[in-house]
């Protein structure tokens, strides 16, 4: 929070990542996915992580999301003094009240037979026992969130697999924002969607970010998309952070690393 109680960029560190390294175990040894990566995410900031497939961007998202353990380096979240790996189960559970993830494939991020209402309610059920036990209030909260993400009440009983990609991703975003997280990790959220739907989802995410003041960690391989919306952009190559750039037009002007220039050139060539 800022001095006068208004959330704003730079008020506090949502995430402090220092010298983060991670290797996947393979049949014949280990494969380094992330190597010595350091960056911060400020409150209300939108940080983009870009790189080609296998550059380690989703692994970083998974490490921050606590889906992977056994990393080297440190992850401090929500200005917590304790390092993520040193936290107890209870401490970690409490910490992740403020962190949510939206995944790449909207259909696969819900169980096949779960209906939209139930799926969105899952986002708050385990953190608000009082609300979870009061079915009426829970339904009201879910409907309110559905309205926020642009889904009408008629979708409440629909199975997630019956929805279109855009609708299902809206439901996934609804599940993520229902407990008003302070950090939303968006892991390739638009990759499985067609271009017109991509724009709608991006618009939704940014209106929500503005309204709720949450920070976004936007993981994508789409340089133009990330550059256009993020406050800062981290470029990853072979698991290493090769360059940190400001967002917007400045990104194109200030890029110096040959890999970043190559990425930009490939976008421009396509255009």
């Amino acid at each position: 929070m800022g001095i006068d109680g208004v959330k704003g960029i730079g008020d506090m560190k949502i995430a402090e990542i220092r010298n983060l390294s991670y290797s996947y175990r393979e049949n014949c040894g280990q494969k380094k996915a992330v190597s010595n990566v350091s960056f911060d995410i400020d409150e209300g900031e939108c940080l983009g992580l870009i790189g080609e497939s296998g550059s380690g961007k989703s692994t970083i998202g998974s490490l921050i999301g606590n889906f992977l353990t056994g990393y080297e380096g440190s992850i401090h979240l929500m200005s917590n003094e304790k390092e993520l790996a040193d936290m107890s189960k209870k401490e970690r559970h409490d910490l992740y009240r403020d962190i949510q993830v939206v995944f790449q494939n909207p259909w696969q991020s819900f169980p096949p037979n779960m209906c939209v209402g139930e799926g969105i309610a899952e986002g708050i059920r385990y953190y608000s026992r009082g609300l979870a036990s009061d079915q009426k209030k829970l339904k009201e909260k879910v409907l309110e969130t559905m309205h926020l993400v642009g889904l009408s009440a008629s979708y409440y009983q629909k199975k997630c697999r019956e929805l279109s990609g855009g609708e299902c991703q809206r439901a996934a975003i609804g599940r993520a924002i229902i407990r008003s997280p302070r950090l939303l990790i968006c892991d390739e959220v638009t990759s499985a969607l067609d271009v017109s739907i991509q724009a709608q989802i991006m618009q939704l995410l940014f209106s929500l970010k503005k309204g709720m003041g949450m920070a976004l960690l936007f993981i994508s391989h789409d340089l133009a998309l990330v550059g256009g919306i993020c406050d800062r952009v981290c470029v990853l190559h072979d698991g290493q952070l090769v360059e940190e750039l400001p967002g917007g037009r400045e990104m194109y002007e200030k890029a110096e690393h040959p890999y970043t220039r190559l990425l930009m050139k490939s976008v421009l060539d396509i255009i």
Binding site: F67, I99, Q104, F110, P112, R175
Partner: protein, 270 residues
């Protein structure tokens, strides 16, 4: 659409038939014309007639009544046993896959030990050690059948354990119990149910096989396999004593197999 409806209709018919078999076997037990255990040597080896539609055995007992009485024993033993191995095997498989690491390795090594022997040979060995009796033959077969469920459920859990919706559940704050019961089990149980429906028939057959070898329920239990085992010594003299229990076994096995197939078709159709 029409095909989907037909598949569902077939499943309903077979479910009604199976429920009818189970219920009928229980109801008919108390309303038999002849006492299934009462011997009457003067009526021995009566060929099928109006009074004894399936004839009588070497002790003059009504074969039809023994088949109907034995239906409850065979069917309920098989259904309950399959239910038990379904629960035990699934619990082992889910625990192994979800816990991973050393727990997975230990549990899977145990299943490998059981798998090292042919199923029926292992069941015969276990039944031989435990002794005859319905309970022991069910235990012997249970010791063999749980492995299928453990292996299948483990592979099913492994295929969904790292899926995005399990990750989403974790980030939503769901604990292991909620993840297993709300996210994993409902999404993996269908193939297990199909296996269980198919296993009821093979369980009945295996139990009949054990009884036929003299390792099943002891005399005078009216279990189908045991009845056939008793009748095999006078197969030439009174073939009806073995033919009719065999037919009952055949019909029941076919019905449960069809039920398993219908369940699989419905699940495949989604």
């Amino acid at each position: 659409m029409k095909k989907k409806k037909m598949i569902k209709f077939r499943l309903i018919i077979l479910m009604v038939l199976c429920a009818g078999l189970l219920l009928g076997a229980w109801i008919v037990r108390g309303h038999l014309i002849h006492e299934p255990f009462r011997t009457n040597v003067r009526q021995a080896f009566q060929a099928p007639c109006r009074e004894y539609i399936f004839g009588t055995d070497n002790l003059g007992r009504c074969v039809a009544c023994r088949i109907l009485y034995g239906a409850a024993t065979s069917l309920y033993a098989a259904v309950l046993a399959v239910l038990a191995v379904f629960i035990i095997g699934t619990a082992v498989g889910v625990t192994a896959a979800y816990a991973g690491g050393i727990v997975d390795r230990i549990l899977m090594k145990i299943t490998l030990v059981f798998q090292a022997f042919p199923n029926f040979i292992l069941a015969v060995a276990v039944a031989g050690m435990l002794g005859t009796g319905l309970k022991n033959s069910v235990l012997a077969l249970g010791a063999v059948y749980w492995i299928t469920y453990a292996k299948l459920s483990r592979s099913l859990v492994l295929s969904i354990r790292d899926s995005e919706y399990i990750r989403a559940a974790k980030i939503c704050g769901a604990g292991p119990t909620a993840i297993i019961f709300k996210y994993i089990l409902p999404n993996m149980v269908s193939p297990l149910i199909v296996t269980a429906a198919l296993d009821v028939s093979s369980f009945i057959l295996s139990m009949a096989g054990l009884s036929f070898l003299g390792l099943g329920p002891s005399r005078p239990t009216a279990e189908w396999g045991a009845t056939m085992s008793e009748a095999k010594t006078f197969i030439q003299q009174a073939p009806w004593c073995i033919v009719f229990p065999g037919l009952a076994l055949l019909v029941t096995v076919v019905i449960f197999n069809l039920l398993g197939d219908a369940l699989r078709d419905v699940i495949d159709e989604g």
